[in-house]
Symmetry: none
């Protein structure tokens, strides 16, 4: 049996669960490599993947003998089979954050077992990345860095935010990525003051600041980076804010390591900004993996500790309503005694359109 499923089974055992019904497609992909619509059952004896005829071929291609997964076509699974998958089992885990109430009732009806909440058991396994996962994230970060280099030549006065966003997507798709990890943010001039701006038809103008927040997926794993750049020149009023954000971003990079406390890290930035009359309007960061936002959240409300081989973002930002915003973000791999920024693009003033 593959290591991930083996480890999950030991966790289930410790929770006194005799099996689990896994419905979240990313969790199934994490455990099996199968990218399809279906249900994974960890029964006492077997690992079973039930899907429909559309996905049988793809599922069979994805798994190896080592996975020890039996694939069923849902058309051949009878009412009787469903009741027997967990025969003599008392408590079976399910994903309460993925299963709708409607589906919950269906699961009860089909499997006739006690369904027990598993509190992000698989999401929490996914926090610590394995070597092959780290390699994929590194590759996704490299493609994003290369895309940023490309953008520095591409962006010209008169282009719209939408055109730049589309160029990012095109770059990713034609340079080895699966596609976007999330909808890119291209926020120019005053639009940059909204942390989650959607690209508009606004044209890039001399003297603009542009926030570029983007990332790609590579073999199912995400990168996430932000650079705030300048068009033609760096306006004097923005320099102190940019410098403050960058100083904090660099400082946090020296603090990110195994056993660093997430709450304290967040507080460091919060306080540094407050001293200058600004605030950190959003979380300082988040985990990155198969999803661009996953556990752990790096915020004041999280008193947990970082662990080796977590991958998280470091993204302080300051937003001056109606005027401009500055955010600088890297995807970072946590080591035992330090960390490694996986996105390595220039962070000093980048001026484009010259």
């Amino acid at each position: 049996m593959n290591q991930k499923i083996k480890y999950l089974r030991s966790k289930l055992n410790a929770m006194n669960l005799q099996g689990m019904i896994i419905t979240d497609p990313l969790n199934i992909q994490y455990l099996t490599g199968i990218k399809a619509e279906g249900t994974l059952l960890l029964t006492r004896k077997e690992n079973i993947y039930i899907t429909d005829s559309r996905y049988i071929e793809a599922a069979n291609t994805a798994i190896t003998i080592e996975d020890e997964i039996v694939i069923y076509d849902s058309r051949n699974v009878s009412k009787y089979d469903y009741e027997n998958f967990f025969a003599l089992c008392k408590n079976i885990g399910f994903e309460e954050g993925n299963v709708t109430y409607k589906k919950y009732k269906k699961l009860l009806e089909y499997y006739k077992v006690n369904l027990i909440e598993t509190e992000d058991i698989i999401e929490n396994l996914r926090i610590i990345k394995e070597t092959d996962e780290i390699e994929k994230i590194k590759k996704a970060c490299r493609i994003a860095d290369n895309c940023f280099l490309h953008l520095q030549n591409y962006i010209k006065v008169g282009m719209t935010e939408k055109e730049i966003a589309l160029e990012i997507e095109k770059y990713f798709r034609l340079n080895g990525a699966d596609g976007l990890a999330f909808d890119s943010i291209v926020a120019s001039g005053p639009n940059s003051s909204m942390p989650h701006a959607i690209p508009t038809d606004r044209k890039i103008t001399e003297g603009d600041i542009i926030t570029l927040d983007f990332g790609c997926k590579y073999k199912g794993y995400c990168s996430d980076m932000t650079r705030t750049i300048f068009v033609k020149y760096v306006p004097e009023e923005i320099k102190p804010v940019y410098d403050l954000v960058l100083e904090n971003q660099n400082y946090i990079l020296t603090e990110l390591k195994d056993m660093a406390n997430i709450k304290i890290l967040s507080n460091l930035v919060e306080n540094s900004f407050k001293l200058k009359g600004f605030m950190q309007a959003h979380a300082l960061g988040h985990g990155v993996g198969m999803e661009v936002h996953e556990n752990p959240i790096i915020s004041l409300n999280n008193n947990q500790y970082l662990k080796e081989n977590m991958v998280v973002t470091n993204e302080p930002g300051i937003y001056v309503t109606g005027k401009f915003g500055v955010r600088i973000e890297d995807t970072v791999l946590i080591h035992k005694n330090d960390c490694q920024a996986l996105t390595v693009s220039q962070k000093d003033y980048v001026v484009v359109g010259k």
Copy 2:
């Protein structure tokens, strides 16, 4: 109060429900025009929309006085308020197909009421399209048809599936659509034997068959169409399968109308394929609207009847494992005595790359 909310309230009344908690963002958009993250409550006295500071402005802009909706900032809603929204109410409806089991438990804790399943009450209102909705779907279909014309000139031997998928997205974005209605399927050669193939780096080759399944969103409404085309020439072994699929697709178009039985329609195709030794591997179709897949499902398991002003797809398909697949799909508007295909692209052999 707007007509949709008024009608929904009469339905709730008939179900002996004194109110409803609406969490599905598309259902909220359908009822109110608000496109944001929040919760809509239909209480005894009022319609209440609770959102956070990011969306207050957008929500206020979306609604009209006629909607009679009071907007609350979630920061100002206390535990006490939540308990009082449904004071003296016995049974309150919720969307069991949208709310996860985890959220269901939160709703119980917050609102302290009996939560009653509402069985797609709003989705079922959405099945019958109003005039302005039909106009938007028609426009989305026109853009998809134009995209298909564009692709016939664009596709060349040596291009990858991914490049073609990207061109579809680019075409939509630069020709008035909001964007993709769903991830396009561009499946060439043997890849076409998987109904839900994901675009790969496989290069288009002479003699290939290519399945193109794509659609866009226009002002929030979807189009969905599939054409299976040929590169340079039409292989003889594929012709009989193509002809069988097309014959069935055309025949179903003559049968789609108000009061047509969905199960019987599906059976017609199923039997026609079986007679030639093939099978229909997926549902014959589905509703199209704000979502690309919505009610009704057109399959053997659905014994309902079509109704005037439903919009559904008609998409028979045959898949020969490891070899090739053929699917032809239109988005169709149901009339009293017949139907209207809203996607009208050529269905006879389309040969590209000549």
